[in-house]
Amino acid sequence: MFNSSPHQRASNSVSNVMLQVVYAAIPGAAALFYFFGWGVIFNLITCISFCLVSEALTLKLRSQPTAAALKDNSALVTAILLGLALPPLAPWWVAAIGSIFAIVFAKQLYGGMGYNPFNPAMCGYVLLLISFPVAMTAWLPPAPLAEQSASFTDSLSLFLTGRDLDGYYLDTYRYNADGFTMATPLDQLKTGYSMGFMNDELLSHPVFTDFAGVGWQWVNLAFLLGGIYLLARKIISWHIPVSMLIAMAVVSALMSLYDSGQTIGPIMHCFSGATMLGAFFIATDPVSASTTTKGRLIFGAGIGIFVVVIRNYGGYPDAVAFAVLLMNMAAPLIDHFTQPKVYGSPSKTPEVHD
């Protein structure tokens, strides 16, 4: 057994990196819990248990050491990202199916940690979005707007059986004070545009008080806070989130200039939906993202552009998951063409073989 140099190492480890991501997600999770109630916690718990169990079982099937792999905390991060992305009080099996798909199909079947070309959490999310569009877009109104909020026991009952203790369905809780069914701000806008409404009319809706929608803006700010923590701890580099947010702002500003009536504005884009969660927690997943400096800038910008385009023209209200998966696909190519200039090399562009 030969121990090659170096004989010392920095004290960082994958499990610590992953743990920091989990810590950084706490403010965002807290904000979600504050605005959307117990469902967030149920989702998280379900995702964590199903992710860990399916990770352990698949590792066992692949005759890989289970304990060491579980300790790297990567399944935990996948579980938390998925859990935070799901609508609260969606039935428990939604979280379960998403978790199993994310771990078994999107991660372990590709070879486990480090080998998955796509972000597992987003694979799980997209599978759910396509398979169960109704459940996946049924968001509760944020607490300040809700006519009635579900208690812990009601929430648990809704989560497990689809009805609360009095036998009411989830839709009951989705009415706001005016008696309208609530949707997320982005959903609201999308539906509004398709019915021919203009921004002026739509933005007067109570959901849009403050700068980017009640509740959602605070959720996004909380994730931004977590993201800044990750940047400060050097867990992630600034390239992907910054280029993604700039690309979103620039593209949406240009689109607003062209058509201010029926496009979503830059601030709305950046502080609504899953933008901040996506920018700092999902797009920065190192395994499936680009790894070169220039490549990261392109990768982030690509996600930003796709998010804006899909939100405006696509069939779903939010687009972070789709955008991330699309750019995951392009990551190897981006990496290939953005190799850094090696010390002493004559040309800026590395030669490309095959």
Partner: protein, 183 residues
């Protein structure tokens, strides 16, 4: 009328596509070695003739004409794999009648050599030096280890010696996390 337009359009489209393909065929042509050269480059050039052909190049030509790719013991399994990759064939095990052996060089026990020059004539790469009635010797660096010189020697003074270790080099790091046995 509309049929006519459709036909004309399709013809134009076909012409345009054809022109594009023709252009690409000329301007983006990928220069590549003829397949015989590529096969020859993979073969180990021991010129030992174990494949049944008089040298590596004739075997390369034979492979190009459809002969089996598993007749080269010096190339070993790795050689078969490389050929299979190149030609898009299945990997087949080495011909059973042939054995993959460790690389060797010929060594002439010089005090026994009678200077008959038979080995010199047999050597496919001119790696043996000597003159009639004078002792012969092998240029170790040029010897391919084909052992064609062994049989002609009337006094059996040629040995094939395994090439000694290339020297120490860094081993490949262990890849898998070893499964820890819990007793």
């Amino acid at each position: 009328m509309s049929t006519f337009v459709a036909v004309v359009l399709l013809v134009l489209l076909a012409a345009a596509c054809g022109a594009l393909l023709g252009f690409a065929a000329i301007h983006f042509k990928v220069e590549s070695d003829p397949v015989v050269e590529q096969i020859d480059a993979i073969l180990p050039q021991t010129q030992c003739g174990q494949c049944g052909y008089p040298g590596c190049r004739p075997y390369a030509e034979a492979i190009a004409n459809g002969d089996e790719i598993n007749k080269c013991p010096p190339g070993g399994e790795a050689g078969v794999k490389a050929l299979a990759d190149l030609l898009g064939k299945d990997i087949v095990p080495l011909d059973e009648s042939l054995e993959e052996a460790a690389p060797t060089v010929a060594y002439i026990r010089e005090d026994e050599c009678i200077g008959c020059t038979k080995c010199i004539q047999a050597c496919p790469v001119d790696a043996i030096l000597g003159a009639p009635k004078l002792m012969h010797t092998v240029i170790v660096d040029e010897c391919t280890g084909c052992d064609l010189c062994v049989a002609p020697c009337p006094v059996d003074c040629i040995d094939m010696i395994p090439i000694s270790d290339k020297g120490w080099s860094w081993p490949e790091p262990a890849q898998r996390i070893p499964v820890q046995q819990v007793v």
